[in-house]
Amino acid sequence: MNTLNLRIEKEIAIIEFDQPDSKVNVLNTDTMRELDGAIDGILGKPEIKALLIVSKKAGIFIAGADIKEIEHITSADDAREKAENGKAVLDKISNSGLVTVAVINGVCLGGGLELALACKYRVAGFSDAVKLGLPEVKLGIIPGFGGTQRLPRIAGLTRGLNMILSGEMISGRDALKCGLVDRLFPEVRLIENSVALARGILQKTIRTGRKEKKKLFLVLLEDTPFGRALLFSQARKNVLQKTKGFYPASLKALEVIRRTYGKDFKAGSRIESEAFGELAVTDVSKNLIKVFYLNEEFKKLPWIAADIKPDKINKCGILGAGVMGGGIAQLVSFYDIPSRLKDINYEALKSALKTAKGLFDYALKKRILKRHQVDYKMGLISPTTTYRGFENTGIVIEAVVEDLNIKQKVFTELSRIVPPTTVLASNTSSLPIINIAQAAEYPERAVGLHFFNPVHRMPLVEVIRSERSSDRALATTIAFARRIGKVVIVVKDVPGFLINRILLSYMNEAGFLFEEGMDIRRIDRIARGFGMPMGPVELIDEVGIDVGYKVAKILESSYGPRMRVAPILEKVKEKGLLGKKSKAGFYLHKGREKEPNPAIFGLVGPSGSGHISDETALKRMIYIMVNEAARCLEEKVADRPQTVDIGMIMGTGFPPFRAGLLRYADSVGAGNIVKDLEVFEKGLGALRFKPCNYLIDIRDKMGGFYGTV
């Protein structure tokens, strides 16, 4: 009960947030109650004229509301009441008549920002740690402490909408520009300067002219009925495009703001609480919170004993400048690590540099980077056609063509050039690492480091531990992968590893569905309707049919008949259709448009009528993945269900609102899945649906992958 500390300096009261035993401050029921009491105390002292709210945590003001409390809310009424109670405290601040100043020294999110918004003034430090945002929609809820009401009023409707609907954070400088903060002060004198500001305001020696003059187009957009209608309809379109209707929070937030902007504050606040209450109890929100925790957990998960210290990587060698190699080079240089990129000739290097530049130019356009940063980072990629310069790389990532002989050859060459301490990481998507590693001297330094395409966008890497990989090599690879912003899962060295092995069964099943006469557009629509970012057939075209077929074949030869490749895949491949890269695969691709490719009809005679219900088709595609994932757990390819879930979400875009493949399986129930699989197995006479022992065990003994459901 001592998160807050109240200090009084003459006419100025300072409330210091300093949550005990924690690196951050969060707002929970106790803290809010404490805050309420503190404010009452201050209001009881007429000599106090100003109130500063400050944080004692380095780089953090208030990180938001306590997610655990939100997670445990089970009734909409409770949720609404929590929001109303919080609002009452913040309203007390905003109605206090005091000069109130939020002193933002760092991360200021969610409820933290809402508290700051309830103050009359906000000041922030110059430091890069300052981040302001209302990320509630990312957890499937909306701001509940008046954020939808105050932010658009203070920062402007356009900016406010943007921040609330996207959940993105903005920097202190941007906040100053839009009037969200009134002053930026140097870190070291933040509090002194804030006190001086408050005194100046009290003595009327400082005038706080707020933002710059509003631009004409913003006036037209925000302050005219027509402009506002346009703004809201455009925002709605954007939200729908982004969320595809699966994430109701953004739409709800938009709805609340549309109904309340410019209207009575109290009524608006109530509408906000209502909406918050409704959302807080949805499965989507509960699932997104689970994914949030999962993500936080996997950021720090040690994987390797803590006493094994990773080597610091000063330079990264990359072999192969194809799509993956080029993407990796761009990513590595984005994080300011010099890379040496080798290919056998300049053609590949050209396209790799072009791709990298394209990505950097995009970051420039989106104002993620500035021109000077792009110039610097782009220059960190050093292209070459020789091994020159690999001698002092700390890690080499091999991304050459997916062919065991070639990979072995380069590992042999490499291991003669680099010192024994250099980690050799293969970006193979399906070949066993041990087979590649054995071509190297000191095979214990070889690991798998499997990126997903497109490298800059997919947050996951699989780190593959071969039976000989050393802990040191793994620790170094994990630390490196995290340094370049990736979520790491460590998996066992089996063909296809974890993610491709699971995902391939989904793509393959789509092939069988097509062979049974289903329309490919329908197959894709069903998968997207489930929330997959791409239907399986689109995905095959995107990956490339040649690549997909190759991987599928490797898996078939490793896992036998249950992984039999759908014959259509081979037929399409033999026809020389490569997918999106050659503009023709299962679909004909014209720019962004696509239509089914007539050339694929008649390649295999339909083995069925195509009268498969949406539900059945979806179950076949999803449950076959569940079955394969269960096998992976059984074989200890993945250590636990969380690894599968984070991997599928971060590596394949499996819908986060379903909290992951195995969480979804638990929500369906292992019993139901086994039952359906058995029906498919018998009905189609297909071995691939046979529920694995682990899945049956789950049904019989545990009730769910995550234990009793």
Partner: protein, 425 residues
């Protein structure tokens, strides 16, 4: 302490200005070389105490270009860097400064070199309009602004080429080409001799192309990096004496003999070399390309700047305790054919020795077969701040190929100086 070693070196292709490299700033050209040098030698960047780079036209957006190069190349931020200019000898100066720093015990390992993007030397506004602009910025009210605007005249907006200013001597008032005309007249060097020498430079550069590749790092450029530049683009495969003789004199329309064909080209490029003490190099397991035996700079009359080598060479030979005939290979930078030919004549002239060096003994004869054997600046181009480094690199690589003992590199310097370096293996 041993001799000062040039461990390794690399340069970009030399590319005619306003062609393939026109969108690459000097700092990037320099960084490409330094980065490649670090890769070639796999030197831990943390061991590079200092980057010293020559540059004549400092990029306006990257003053102290050496520092920018150092950071671009991935050398840690706590390392030092500074830029030197001795005009055309800046590339020499970067190396000899490194020698001095190392000898004084201030540095152990230095990355030296030169960079120049003559494509990016800006056009500038004249002084009058610059003043008006400056005052406009400071103007307090509209009336003052209007008054200043009213002072502007159309001729104010004719820009001045920075490069033309840079190539003109502010003391004697001649541009570099005109100083070459002075020498052509004084030494009676004919147009035919000059064109013949130029043709030789092109032919040697063309036949030396594969050898030159050994000192070049290919540069990928173009909007989509779709161009790979692997060779110098100055040398002309089909250069003929007829084509050369058809060119009009550029600096003196009627009586002149100096043309763009028998002058060096205006060029973009960069070069970097790794410099350290011999013992240090050996302790680190390097096999240096060669060592600096002696170096010398000297001043002379600005309008005869082209004779710089004639004055610098006797000095450096004396310091080295060697004779011109001991030199297995010689590089004299080809600012102008007339200027190189004048140097050869003067070095071999008894009269010149008597008048200038108080001795009847001429410095010596330079065997044309040992001079600029892979072509010179007339074919390859002369990125002013770089050429000194390039001469050292090209010479050392050729000395290695021939297993030569001594090599001499010298150049004339705008403003009236000469520089010379003797290298040994």
């Amino acid at each position: 302490m041993g001799r000062i070693a040039i461990v390794e070196g690399v340069r970009t292709p030399f590319v005619k200005a306003w062609t393939l490299f026109e969108d690459i700033p000097a700092q990037r050209l320099g960084a490409i070389c330094v980065r490649e040098l670090l890769e070639m030698t796999h030197l831990d960047p943390d061991l590079a105490d200092e980057v010293i780079f020559g540059a004549v036209a400092q990029p306006v957006e990257a003053s102290n270009v050496a520092r920018v190069i150092s950071l671009y190349a991935g050398i840690p931020k706590d390392k030092r860097a500074y830029t030197v200019s001795r005009n055309c000898a800046s590339g020499f100066e970067s190396i000899t400064s490194a020698l001095e720093k190392i000898r004084c015990g201030l540095d152990e390992i230095v990355v030296s070199g030169g960079t120049e993007s003559m494509s990016n030397i800006p056009l500038i506004f004249g002084k009058d309009i610059t003043k008006i602009f400056t005052r406009l910025n400071r103007a307090k009210d509209l009336a003052e602004k209007i008054k200043l605007f009213s002072q502007m005249r159309p001729h104010h907006f004719k820009p001045v080429a920075g490069i033309a200013l840079g190539l003109t001597d502010p003391v004697c008032g001649l541009n570099m080409g005109q100083t070459a005309e002075v020498l052509a007249k004084e030494f009676g060097i004919t147009r035919e001799e000059q064109d013949g020498f130029s043709l030789m430079s092109h032919k040697r550069a063309i036949s030396g192309r594969m050898k030159l590749r050994e000192e070049i790092v290919p540069v990928m450029t173009g909007r989509d990096y779709n161009i790979v530049v692997e060779d110098d683009n100055g040398p002309r495969e089909n250069q003929t004496i007829e084509a050369l003789s058809r060119l009009k004199p550029y600096f003196e329309r009627h009586t002149g003999t100096v043309t763009v064909g028998n002058s060096c080209q205006v060029t973009d490029g960069a070069c970097a070399v790794l410099v350290m003490d011999e013992e240090k190099a050996k302790a680190m397991g390097y096999e240096p390309l060669g060592y600096i035996r002696a170096y010398s700079y000297i001043g002379l009359e600005p309008h005869k700047m082209g004779l710089g080598p004639v004055y610098a060479i006797p000095g450096v030979l004396k310091k080295a305790g060697l004779k011109l005939k001991d030199m297995d290979l010689v590089e004299i930078n080809e600012a102008f054919a007339a200027q190189v030919l004048a140097c050869i004549k003067a070095l071999d002239s008894k009269k010149f020795a008597e008048e200038n060096f108080n001795t009847s003994e001429p410095v010596g004869r330079i065997d044309i077969e040992k001079l600029n054997v892979n072509g010179g600046a007339i074919a390859l181009g002369h990125p002013v701040g770089v050429s000194g480094s390039r001469l050292v690199l090209t010479l050392l690589k050729e000395m290695k190929r021939r297993n030569a003992r001594f090599g001499l590199a010298s150049l004339c310097v705008g403003g009236g100086q000469g520089g010379a370096v003797i290298l040994e293996r």
